[in-house]
């Protein structure tokens, strides 16, 4: 039998089995949780900003779900460190698939972008641009 598909290339499996920055952070600047009810994927992203209120110092995540959603959160936590809130806000779906380095089938794209969406929603709530009740981490 085959060695498994493109979608599960070593990188994703590696991040899934050995997640980076997984756990609870002390004193995050903001923290947000979202889920994909149809898959049962849940992700909490915690972000600590530097004193300039813009540069991302550290990111941690926790959650449950499929390999794509969890690996995506793990990779994102690494990727965001040292970047800025505006860079986070500008991340789109293509950036996420590029980060994952694999083609994600249309049915699975929701899993792939969950962590990014949660982080973006968390940032928007922190900046007062979004009401918690309006977060659409499903989409």
């Amino acid at each position: 039998m085959g060695m498994g598909s493109d979608m599960y290339r070593q990188q994703i499996l590696d991040h899934y089995k050995n997640p980076r920055n997984k756990g609870e952070m002390e004193e995050p600047t903001f923290s947000h949780t979202g889920e994909n009810p149809s898959c049962g994927d849940t992700i909490t992203m915690q972000v600590r900003l530097e004193d300039d209120g813009e540069t991302i110092e550290f990111v941690a995540f926790s959650g449950d779900g499929c390999a794509i959603s969890q690996a995506s959160a793990s990779m994102l936590s690494e990727r965001l460190q040292g970047t800025t809130l505006s860079e986070l806000e500008e991340m789109d779906t293509d950036d996420v698939t590029e980060m994952l380095g694999v083609d994600i089938s249309p049915m699975r794209i929701k899993c792939a972008v969950l962590a990014r969406q949660v982080a973006q929603d968390g940032a928007a709530i922190y900046e007062g641009d979004l009401d918690v009740d309006e977060t659409t981490t499903e989409e």
Binding site: M1, G2, M3, G4, S5, D6, M7, Y8, L13, Y16, K17, P37, S38, C39, G40, D41, D64, G65, C66, A67, I68, D103, S105, R108, C111
Partner: protein, 425 residues
């Protein structure tokens, strides 16, 4: 181990009637010996979601559009007469198939979901109120669960759920407790699309009738897979979908006892369902047309007729037997592994589907890997979210079988599951 008893039907000949089964899919990874990016023969194990369509059914659709496409009932020209007769005959054929008394008891809808909504709106909104109870089961499909839940909210009625026990069967003692004088409707799934449980619907019908309640049976998974006799069950309402029984999408069937349908007001208003209209008043057409407002599902009705002919040629007892053989084989093969949890009753007492989880691998990951092996299954909550909550699983992977499936295809499923196991180890 899995025993391969000989098939009760000629699977090879049946497969010839389904061109889609010759398709190859996947091919985004390398299978040793097959060259890079070779596509693999489709293994279609998602029949509980929708079945494939044989030539005979497609031919009926083509014959209709090329031969006598026309609106029904309104025209007296030749084509309209042919279409009307074919469309009406389709109702008779469906009635015969489930042993209803006649076309008066057979309403064509869009699908099972719409059939349940029809009764919930037309009967439920009128008849339910505070103090009344609707009894469902914990294994209900969202099609009935959400519908009755929402109608109950609108009317002030309450909803109770018959418990599912550890083996995935209904707790009939609990059913007895719940079905009391306050109950006006018992709505139950015949064969569970997640657990594969075959529910004792005739017994539940007796319990419902004893307290003067109606019973609605969701037959979306039973009519395609076994002989069903609505009179034996003594169902007041019964629903199923054409697309799960070799027919096209866009058609469902609502069976209702004639005297109950007579007493029920229409659900949709408009053309085709009226007898006499003035600016002030309207009167209704006879059954079943009273419930089929507007231009109906003509093509789909005619195609459903062809699908039923096809199934009857095979014989529903044989279809059931084939389903049972494959379900038991799949259950036994998957049950060999300690890291696989299967939901629902044992392999020798279930409908033709097996929902399971592989330890440490999310159902969506598993089904993605199965897809790479060209094995088509369903992953998710199968429209039974509350049941999955109860099972403690966010999702599961479901393989479901039909007349064209084989033991070899189940072996491919098990091999593909093993590949996922290795990948995630």
């Amino acid at each position: 181990m899995g025993v391969q008893e000989s098939y009760p039907i000629d699977v090879a000949a049946i497969r010839e009637d389904f061109p889609i089964l010759d398709r190859k899919v996947g091919g985004d990874f390398t299978v040793p010996g097959e060259g890079e990016n070779d596509d693999l023969p489709l293994v279609y194990l998602d029949n509980a979601a929708t079945s494939q369509t044989p030539r005979q059914v497609v031919d009926a659709i083509v014959d209709y559009y090329y031969g006598y496409n026309s609106n029904v009932h309104r025209g007296i020209h030749h084509l309209s007469q042919e279409a009307s007769v074919a469309y009406e005959n389709a109702h008779d054929r469906v009635a015969e198939f489930v042993n209803a008394d006649g076309r008066e008891e057979i309403v064509f809808t869009k699908n099972t979901t719409e059939a349940i909504n029809l009764v919930a709106y037309a009967w439920g909104l009128e008849e339910l109120g505070p103090g009344d109870t609707v009894v469902l089961t914990e294994m209900e499909h969202h099609a009935s669960l959400v519908t009755w839940q929402q109608i109950a909210k609108k009317t002030g009625a309450s909803v109770e759920y018959i418990r599912v026990d550890d083996e995935g069967r209904l707790d009939m003692e609990h059913a007895k407790e719940l079905i009391d004088d306050s109950v006006k409707m018992v709505s139950v799934v015949h064969v569970s699309n997640t657990l594969g449980t075959i529910n004792p619907v005739a017994e539940l019908a007796d319990m419902a009738h004893e307290v003067g309640a109606y019973i609605f049976v969701d037959g979306a998974q039973s009519v395609p897979t076994r002989p069903v006799d609505v009179k034996d069950i003594d169902a007041d309402f019964f629903a199923f979908s054409g697309h799960k029984m070799l027919g096209p999408t866009g058609i469902g069937v609502l069976y209702g006892k004639e005297e109950i349908l007579e007493d029920t007001s229409p659900y949709l208003y408009g053309g085709e369902m009226i007898r006499r209209v003035t600016y002030e008043e309207s009167t209704w057409e006879d059954l079943p047309w009273k419930f089929e407002a507007g231009t109906p599902v003509i093509e789909q009705g005619i195609a459903l007729h062809a699908a039923i002919d096809y199934l009857d040629d095979i014989g529903m007892e044989n279809v059931q037997k084939h389903e049972e053989l494959l379900a038991e084989y799949a259950y036994d093969r998957l049950d060999e592994f300690d890291d696989i949890e299967i939901y629902g009753p044992p392999g020798d007492d279930r409908g033709g589907l097996v929902a399971f989880n592989l330890d440490g691998v999310h159902a969506h990951d598993l089904s993605s890997i199965l897809n790479d092996h060209a094995v088509a299954v369903r992953a998710g909550d199968h429209c039974t979210q509350p049941l999955h909550d109860k099972l403690g699983a966010a999702a599961s992977t479901r393989a479901s079988f039909y007349i064209y499936n084989t033991y070899e295809e189940i072996d491919k499923l098990v091999d593909a599951v093993d590949d996922a196991r290795q990948l995630f180890a």
